[in-house]
């Protein structure tokens, strides 16, 4: 992981313009535009089915928008596969945990380093010399993530056996291991108890502060969102209804109507 840098919010890292996405008759997104600046924590909120996850899926190439443009690091992107987004420095976690259940915590997080490991196949057959050296180097990086997330005790445990809250943490670890420039978190605190939420909040803030990672996150817990994010986008029925700093958004009558009024607060 990178060394600590003072927290600064820089130029635009990601720009979404007029993005639309449809599934048959369902319009998941219609003409959504917003931007994410380097170094900030950007929240995407909205009622269930508003299109938040679909938005993240478009950003990391899992869905292809039917219309509109996504510019990342100053370059307009064409249709791309998720692994290409990963190569460009975008990592993410999922709303429903997407860990490799048959593998240990350590191996799961090691997979996050996949793109940084490039010793060839023949070296892999030997698992010796450069291949072993590379394996150890990346193991050290992974151990730093493990220390950071305080999950040393479950290093060798198959993730399928871990409780839900820890699985979410391991999934964050796998994303962090990739040292992303842009980290997408889909409801990182859903289903957690208060203590687990507090831990997760702390990790998110620390990642952002210590490593300067830009974070775009979806979260239903309004208290958390308003607390940790720099700016908030609000979606409803696939459309953007508000965008701004937490205080503005909180006071926006459209948001109160659409979202806070529906009992999510």
């Amino acid at each position: 992981m990178q060394h600590a840098a003072p927290r600064t919010i820089g130029e635009t890292l990601l720009k979404v313009e007029d993005v639309s996405l449809g599934f048959g008759g369902v319009k998941a997104l219609s003409g959504v535009s917003f931007d994410v600046r380097r170094g900030e924590i950007r929240a995407i909120i909205g009622p269930n089915g508003a299109g938040k996850s679909s938005m993240l899926n478009c950003i990391n190439g899992f869905y292809q928008p039917s219309d509109g443009r996504i510019t990342y690091k100053g370059k307009a992107r064409g249709a791309m596969r998720p692994y290409e987004a990963a190569r460009d420095g975008i990592a993410r976690t999922f709303q429903n945990i997407a860990l490799f259940r048959g593998m240990s915590t350590l191996d799961n997080i090691m997979t996050g380093r996949m793109l940084k490991m490039n010793r060839g196949f023949l070296w892999q057959c030997l698992h010796w010399g450069p291949a072993q050296k590379e394996e150890i180097e990346h193991r050290e990086a992974v151990e730093r993530v493990i220390d950071f997330l305080e999950i040393q005790a479950i290093r060798k445990v198959p993730v399928g056996r871990l409780p839900y809250g820890l699985q979410k943490r391991v999934e964050l670890g796998r994303a962090l291991a990739a040292e992303p420039e842009l980290l997408l978190l889909d409801e990182p605190m859903a289903g957690m108890n208060l203590e687990e939420k507090e831990d997760m909040c702390r990790f998110i803030l620390d990642v952002n502060e210590q490593f300067g990672t830009t974070i775009a996150l979806i979260e239903h817990d309004m208290g958390v969102v308003m607390d940790i994010s720099d700016r908030v986008v609000v979606l409803e029925y696939g459309r953007k209804i508000a965008d701004g700093v937490p205080d503005e958004v909180k006071a926006d009558p459209k948001v109160i109507d659409a979202y806070l009024g529906t009992g999510h607060g």
């Binding site: 997407a98 860990l99 259940r101 090691m110 996949m114 057959c125 030997l126 698992h127 394996e135 150890i136």
Partner: protein
């Protein structure tokens, strides 16, 4: 307290990532290798070597191959027999076309050819999964066997279609053909198997293995962290088919000394699949345990009742064998998908705590 890792602190990640991090395991492996390379050839009869140990070794290679594809990468295949046939015929073609070529290279080359064939048949795996992929590999199975029976070029235009393996030697010892002793064949086979097992273990504990397992466990998440699905699956098909091809070549040249397509029909594919299910999906050790189990089961079913004075007829044994497989496969699929290898591991964990169970 015979088997425990307490007190064996790993002072470096290198030690922690070693192939056998626990001292007792290393000693165990050393003893096993000593028994296999020195003990067995000294005490085992020709009969045991050629009807139990050599087929066990050959099956182990095939099981390793299928386990890489199905157990590690999650791509179900019923084409194992076809790929073994591919290796056997490729070895025959190479051995007869280049009589000077060392048999070791002949086997490696036939593995290479089979790997390429495997890649071709692996392409559909990008689009289809599970049951449908199994059906596609079944097509490979039938197509390959059909090809080898129908095209006389593969058997150098021999009228019967059955051909015997030409004699070849390594370090002055015949390892194939009629002059080869079972001892020479066994040692040759064993060396091959030991090396292939080491390579397989190295692959699965590193980057390549993690990519395979990621695809197996959740291909969507794998792609999102930068793993290219097609690339990774095709590599699994290639490596797996390489192993199956070498297994087929060993089968034809060392075990049966004849190349015939019938030996590699669909039943062979199922047999290898049973081995990895019983032995343990996604386990190198499991591939060996499964192969041993399936080689030994008919022998035990035969010897047991005979020793008790009630010998069974061959057909009864065949039925019993199938029933036992059926029961065990259901048991392992439902209760313990990681097979005998997992039972072995649980046993070791118990031993580690013994005599204090908590």
């Amino acid at each position: 307290m015979i088997y425990r890792e307490a007190g064996q602190y790993k002072t470096s990640y290198a030690a922690d990532q070693a192939i056998f991090p626990i001292l007792q395991d290393r000693i165990g492996l050393a003893i096993l290798l000593l028994v296999a390379f020195v003990g067995a050839p000294l005490v085992a009869s020709d009969y045991i070597l050629s009807t139990i140990l050599i087929p066990f070794l050959v099956f182990s290679v095939a099981a390793l191959g299928l386990n890489i594809l199905t157990g590690y990468c999650g791509q179900l295949s019923l084409g194992t027999g076809g790929f073994m046939a591919c290796g056997a015929y490729a070895a025959y073609k190479f051995a007869t076309a280049f009589p000077e070529l060392n048999i070791v290279f002949v086997f490696l080359l036939s593995g290479g050819v089979t790997a390429m064939v495997g890649v071709v048949f692996g392409v559909p795996s990008l689009r289809i999964k599970g049951f449908y992929l199994a059906v596609a590999t079944l097509a490979a199975q039938f197509f390959l066997i059909w090809l080898f029976t129908k095209v006389p070029w593969f058997v150098n235009y021999s009228p019967s279609g059955v051909i015997s393996a030409p004699p070849r030697s390594v370090f002055g010892f015949y390892v194939t053909g009629i002059e080869a002793t079972s001892h020479a064949k066994y040692i040759f086979c064993l060396s091959f198997v030991a090396l292939l097992a080491l390579v397989a273990k190295n692959l699965v504990r590193g980057r390549v293995g993690r990519a395979w397992m990621a695809i197996r466990d959740m291909d969507i998440a794998a792609e999102i962290i930068g793993i290219r699905p097609l690339h990774t699956k095709l590599l699994a098909f290639a490596v797996s088919s390489f192993y199956c091809g070498v297994a087929g070549a060993l089968w034809a040249f060392i075990y049966t000394s004849s190349v015939e397509a019938l030996a590699f029909d669909i039943n062979r594919s199922f047999q290898i699949l049973f081995m990895i299910i019983i032995g343990g999906l996604g386990s190198i050790l499991g591939s060996f345990l499964g192969a041993a189990f399936i080689v030994l089961l008919p022998i035990l079913l035969n010897a047991g009742p005979t020793a008790m004075g009630a010998p069974l007829s061959t057909s009864t044994i065949a039925h019993l064998e199938l029933m036992t497989f059926g029961a065990l496969i259901v048991f392992f699929l439902i209760v313990e998908p990681h097979g005998l290898a997992r039972l072995w591991q649980i046993g070791k964990e118990k031993l580690r705590l013994w005599p204090f169970p908590h």
